[in-house]
Structures are given as structure tokens and as C-alpha cells.
Amino acid sequence: MHLIEMKNITKNYYLGETIVHALKGIDLIIKKEEFTAIWGPSGSGKTTLLNLIGTIDEPSSGDLFFNEEKINNIADNDKSEFRNNEIGFIFQTFNLIPVLSALENVMLPLQIKGTPTSKAKKEAFKRLCDVELEQFVNNRPDKMSGGQRQRVAIARALITNPSIVLADEPTANLDFKTSNSIIEIMKKINKRDKTTFVFSTHDQRLLDQMNRLIQLDDGKITE
């Protein structure tokens, strides 16, 4: 069964009166448990493609299916619930909430879902242990290194046991050693929990670890 299926997806942006064709008729299938990277040069449409899969952006045309259910035209509230339940996001710039501790940041998706605080706290602590941050649960993001912040972001992305984790250039802001450890953690979780990972990257170190590579060039898949 396909987890994600995209049929003839296009995405156009308007820059003043100029139309930018970011994606030009994408057909793509992502299966469960994949550890996949979408790669290509800057401006090739990697992030746009990830945003469409994550339902935080709308395609200009084409259809997007999740578990064979069309999801590109559902209501905004339903999309929010869908993201909360099925998708984990990891951002290049970590995007942690600065006024919350590591533990509180990881708890957020569960609290959005309405999980009781005690249960959310327990789950968040478990996830922070998975990413080896049990010593930093009470630290706020500004008291943590880039690698530690990204590990918090990974824990946050995994806390709801999502079907798919979308990671947009997760190692771009990290040094070599930290990048390796981050990749290792994600790989371990992919194997252990059968979580599907889709990355957008042009980091060769990350590409070498992938099971599948999808190359994007000028808005088209050249896999």
C-alpha cells in the first residue's frame, strides 16, 4: 500500500506578474518505512515538494493521496488534525519555541492533540531519551547547541508516532560529527519503529545513508 501518492502535481508561484513553475507535473509514490531523500540543486523544488506532502502548502493542480485517500482539498481544520496525527516535521532551523524547555517543546504536538499533561510529559521524556537528551530536558533552546536543538526537533517530530517524518535539510546547519549522529538517530528510529522518513537535502553525507534517492531538477523528477 502506498503511503503517499502524488499524481501530476504542479505548483506555481507568482512573483509580481511573473509566474514561477516550481513543480511541473510530479508523479511520485512513497511507500511505508522508506528512508528517502529528495535531492537536487537549490531552487529545484525540494522544499516545495516536501511542503505539499506535509499539507502546509496547496498544489496548483494534481492530486495528493495519503493511504489512498485524497487529501489535497480537505478543510483547513482537518488538515491541521491530519498534520498533528500523521506527520512529523523537522526543519533546517530547528524551529523550537524559545520560551519552552526541551521537554515542553517535545510535548507540544501531544498537547495540541489534547493529551493530558502527565501522559504527554512521560512520552516526551521517553522521546528525549531516544535522542540521548535526558540530561537536557529542562534546558531552553538558547542554552543548547545546534545538534542538541535538532535532536529535540526530532523528538518532537516523533512524539505522536507519525506515519511519516518530513525533514527539510536537517543537517544543513550542523557540523560533520553532529550531522552523523543525527542521521544515525533517525536511521535507528526508521529501523526500530518502521517510521517513514523523507528528507530534502543536498548533503552528500546524508544521501549516502538513504535507501532511495529522488532527484529533482527544475521542478521535475529525474530519478
Partner: protein, 412 residues
């Protein structure tokens, strides 16, 4: 819920300087409104007591029907005669809320010390009833010499400036002249029992308080122009007015009953003026609170655009973002009000201890500045400020919630 309150509170703390300015704006507004409402509350109470008791108009005044329209041109016809006075007083005093009902007769004429003469206006009162109506004001109006006395019919209380003009002091004699109700000139001897300050500049040079019977003698009449009623509580005024009106009508007595508020034009004018100033101050504070909160929350939305994008990506719905910023606005309103309440109570304490005085326009002597501490008003204003700040936060919150998630995530 707790998580969002925590986020809101920590964001307020995080932006210390900006939050401080907004909290101070709310606190100052809160303090200004509560101090002014405490002052006006005290002033209204003082003016009310001063009108009802100090100036002696009581809570209700009964006139014969037509007195207020035609009484000046034909006073005899529209005055209340001796039998009617007795009948009306008996009916009125059956009411449990009535403390007393007493006849009055206002007179005017010329007063002379033998060398100089000047006009006067006088209130003819039953001395013992007048003392009851004055209540605490009796002690607050110091009289040089003696006060009115039921037994001394020709003894009068003269206002200070009039006594000074005529060079009269307690125990001095003078003569008053007036036209009787029949139009004959009448003159009577008086003795200045006491000299006192009426408290009102405008009448201090012409006012005399005389015994009711003396006023009747000067006008050569056994009538009264009104009957003044004192009640146990000013809040019962309208109810008792209605009850008495019905009782008198049933007894076949045609009359008009005016309340103290209708007769005290000064009270109504001052109240209207203060109410207008209050509205003016409240509007300014309202604008300041809303503008400050909108500005603070607007800045917060801009600075936290990426955070909003992240929360939306994590699955927070638009109404969740609205709620998050609304909580922050309400919290700013609450904290500002708490600081304002502390300021208000501190200033109230300083005024209470220092007890400064001032001379209001029209008064002939200084009065103490009193500000009432009104817990009900403080609580109401607290809720009002929270509501205002919450409303003010909704505009930027809606902007935040409606942002495109991708644009918000890409915000630098």
C-alpha cells in the same frame, strides 16, 4: 490550556521592556479611572448629603398643586393652610420610611440695622426639625452665638457677610420688612441669635434662617409654602414619593411632590459634569489600552511569525493561534490591572493619611480631598481591562492565525 498560559506568560516576561511599557499604560489608566471614580463617588455622596441635609431640602418636598407655576404671582392661593399642613403631616408620618415632615416658608424683604438696609432672603424653619434634618451638618456649620430656638420666635441666624455688612453681631437687634400676602408692608424686630457661614459664597451676603412662626408673622399668614420630608434612606426617595402621592390623592389633597434631585440643580449639574469628565477619561484610557495592546501584540505577532508557522505545521488550528494571543492579551490586561490596583491603593493611602484640602468653586471654605476605595469598582475595572486587552489582542491574533504556513515558516 496550562501550556498555552505558560507560553503567553513567558512571552510577556521575555519581552520585558515592551511588556513593561504596556503594563504601565494599563496600570496608569486603571489607577486614573479608579481614583477619579473614587473621588466622584465621595463627591456625589457629599453633594447628596449636602443637598438633602446641609441645605435642608430633605428627600421630598410637597407643594400645593400649581405652586411651582403660579406661586410667585399668587402665593396666597397656592400655599398650604394650617389644617392642610396638619392633615398632610399626619398622613406622611404614617409611612415607615419617613423620619419627619416639617412645614417651611421662604420669605424675602429688607433688613436694616437702623442706619443701613439691604435685601435679604430667609428660610422659615421649625428650629427643632431643622436640627434633625441638618443631622451631622448641624455640628459642621459652626454658629457664633446661639442657634435657632423653638422658644425664641424673633431670634434669627444670620449669614456672615450680611451680618458684617450690617455690622451686626450676636444679641444685636435689627428690623426686617416685607410685604404681607395681602400686600401690606410689615416690619418686625429681630435679634441676631447667631452668625454662621452658609458655605455658599453666593448667598452669604443675604441669607437669614428664621423660625417658621416668625416667617408666618412677617407674611401675616398661618400658611406654609411647602412641607419638607426627611426619609431614613435616600434610596427610598422614589418609592416613598410614589406612596405619598397616592396616599394624598386618596385623601383628596392635590399636590406636587419634588425629589431632592429635582430641586438640587447644583447636584445634577455637578454630577453631569463629573460624569462627562469620567466618560472623557475613560475613553482616553480605553484608547490607550487598546492601542498599546494592539501595538504590543502586533510586534509580538511579527517577531513570532516563524513560531506561528511552526505551531500551525505541528497541527495547531487557526482558533488555537487566536486563543494563544488572546490569552497573552488578557494576561497583559490582568497584570496591568493588578499593578494599577497596587498604585491605586497606595495613592489612596497617601491621600487618606495626608488629608489634603481644596476649595471647590462656589464654596467659601476649603474642604478635605476624599477619595473612596471602592472594591466593586476595582473588580469591575479589572474585568473591563482584561476584556479590553483581550479584544485588542484579537486583531493581531487573527492576522497571525490567517498567515500562510509556508510564508510564516520562511519569515526572517
Amino acid at each position: 490550556m496550562n501550556q498555552w498560559i505558560k507560553v503567553a506568560f513567558r512571552n510577556i516576561i521575555k519581552n520585558k521592556r515592551r511588556s513593561f511599557v504596556t503594563l504601565m499604560a494599563i496600570a496608569m489608566g486603571f489607577t486614573a479611572i479608579n481614583l477619579f471614580s473614587g473621588y466622584t463617588h465621595n463627591t456625589y455622596e457629599g453633594l447628596r448629603a449636602s443637598a438633602i441635609r446641609g441645605s435642608g431640602i430633605g428627600h421630598l418636598t410637597i407643594y400645593k398643586k400649581g405652586w411651582n407655576k403660579f406661586g410667585k404671582s399668587d402665593p396666597d392661593k397656592y400655599m398650604i393652610d394650617k389644617n392642610q399642613i396638619k392633615k398632610i403631616v399626619n398622613i406622611i408620618e404614617e409611612n415607615d420610611s419617613v423620619i419627619l415632615a416639617t412645614p417651611r416658608l421662604d420669605i424675602s424683604g429688607i433688613v436694616s440695622n437702623g442706619r443701613n438696609s439691604t435685601i435679604f432672603m430667609a428660610q422659615g424653619v421649625v428650629p427643632s426639625d431643622d436640627k434633625t434634618i441638618l443631622g451631622a451638618f448641624f455640628a459642621a456649620q459652626p454658629v457664633t452665638g446661639e442657634t435657632l430656638n423653638d422658644k425664641k420666635e424673633y431670634g434669627v441666624q444670620m449669614a456672615t457677610d450680611l451680618a458684617e455688612y450690617l455690622a451686626l453681631k450676636p444679641k444685636d437687634d435689627a428690623v426686617v420688612m416685607a410685604a404681607t400676602l395681602d400686600g401690606q408692608l410689615n416690619a418686625l424686630d429681630i435679634q441676631v441669635s447667631g452668625v454662621y457661614n452658609t458655605g455658599i459664597d453666593a448667598i452669604n451676603d443675604k441669607f437669614i434662617k428664621v423660625p417658621f412662626k416668625f416667617a408666618q408673622s412677617l407674611y401675616d399668614s398661618d400658611k406654609a409654602d411647602r412641607i419638607v420630608i426627611l426619609l431614613d434612606n435616600w434610596k427610598n426617595t422614589l418609592i416613598v414619593q410614589h406612596q405619598i402621592m397616592k396616599q394624598l390623592k386618596d385623601a383628596g389633597i392635590e399636590c406636587e411632590i419634588k425629589t431632592w434631585e429635582e430641586l438640587s440643580v447644583f447636584y445634577s449639574n455637578v454630577k453631569n459634569m463629573f460624569d462627562m469628565i469620567f466618560l472623557f477619561i475613560f475613553t482616553i484610557v480605553l484608547v490607550i489600552v487598546i492601542m498599546s495592546t494592539v501595538n504590543t501584540m502586533g510586534m509580538s505577532v511579527i517577531e513570532r511569525t516563524r513560531e506561528i508557522g511552526t505551531l500551525r505545521a505541528l497541527g495547531l488550528k487557526r482558533r488555537g493561534i487566536n486563543f494563544l494571543f488572546a490569552i497573552e492579551g488578557a494576561m497583559i490586561g490582568f497584570l496591568g490591572s493588578v499593578v494599577g490596583a497596587i498604585f491605586h491603593i497606595s495613592i489612596w493611602l497617601i491621600i487618606f493619611v495626608a488629608s489634603p484640602t481644596y476649595t471647590p468653586p462656589g464654596n467659601s471654605s476649603p474642604v478635605p480631598l476624599h477619595v473612596d476605595l471602592l472594591p466593586g469598582n476595582i473588580l469591575f475595572m479589572l474585568l473591563c481591562m482584561i476584556f479590553l486587552a483581550l479584544i485588542a489582542a484579537i486583531f493581531p491574533a487573527r492576522r497571525a492565525a490567517n498567515q500562510n504556513v509556508v510564508d510564516a515558516l520562511g519569515h526572517v
